[in-house]
Symmetry: none
DNA sequence: AATATATGAATGAACG
DNA sequence: CGTTCATTCATATATT
């Protein structure tokens, strides 16, 4: 019995916001992910085939390092506003951070900026700011989490209440 | 593969026709889709490059339309629950602001949050954001008003200007 | 229903 | 570094 069960999960849930999705939305997500996965697989296979036949095709050789090579995605802006990282740039930055790069050195910033510029307009200042903001916001998040954990240390009841509220949401159809 | 996974399903809790997801789960989904999108983009680009150079590669041709068709770049329509202040909460907040509280201290935010929670669900972040938005929008309004005062342009011109700003952006290649 | 606006939230950049 | 500002994104609500 799921409803009101509160047997939600391991320590996954935080006291942060929760989100509600409909079946249709979940389905849509699955479809998108499946579609991307299929396309990636096909493309990758095509490249393997092609590479096997024609090893000297320019630009194709070191596919293993997919993230570091190719294309400039979209830089449509004429009016220079604030930097908006492309999904690729973000992905790379997030990965670097998650792998322990929290306060990159000047040289590191130079390098990664140069790598990221293959995926869109970017400056060293952008990268510097990104890491700075990341650190600050991660830290604040950790503090909030820790604090609210401490608050509810002996009060899981409150949490239960919160869960209960959501249960009331029900089906319009 | 490394990217796919069924973790989503495990964590999703069934509740009538809606599901509740944690921030972490949503984040994970977004990451997955962003990752696939970025990889597809790269592979497609590489493929185009390669195809341009070597059009008659066996095994490549009959699949060459693969990347042309599907992937919807749209990110999931996840309905995020955002705080909607009750009229009572709004009244109190407006009053505080009008009485000179523009940038409340952390402690002040704590206090007011706790007071406001008597009138409905609310978090410190909600309060913080409210004041932040209030400041920004008040400032903007003041600036607009002042500017239109100085200008002899018609009143409607002002709004037209605002619209015009966006028009410049565009044109990828 | 489709578009426009109001406003909560996220985030790049700047400040002290 | 911590905090705040400025801009943008996303969603709820209003308007047509």
């Amino acid at each position: 019995g799921a409803i009101g069960g509160g047997e939600v999960e391991r320590g996954v849930e935080r006291k942060g916001a929760t989100y509600v999705m409909t079946e249709g939305q979940i389905e849509e997500l699955r479809r998108q992910i499946a579609a991307y996965a299929a396309i990636c697989e096909q493309l990758a296979e095509m490249h393997r085939d092609a590479a096997a036949q024609q090893e000297s095709l320019a630009g194709m050789r070191n596919m293993s390092n997919v993230y570091l090579l190719p294309p400039p995605p979209q830089v449509p802006r004429i009016t220079k506003q604030r930097w908006i990282p492309t999904s690729m740039q973000l992905q790379i930055l997030e990965r670097e951070y998650s792998q322990g790069i929290e306060t990159p050195s000047k040289q590191y910033i130079k390098d990664i900026t140069s790598a990221l510029s293959l995926h869109g307009q970017i400056t060293e200042a952008n990268v510097y700011n990104w890491f700075q903001n990341k650190r600050a916001r991660m830290k604040r998040k950790r503090q909030n989490d820790t604090k609210s954990e401490a608050e509810t240390e002996s009060r899981d009841q409150k949490k239960a209440n919160k869960e209960t509220v959501r249960v009331q949401i029900d089906d319009p159809d």
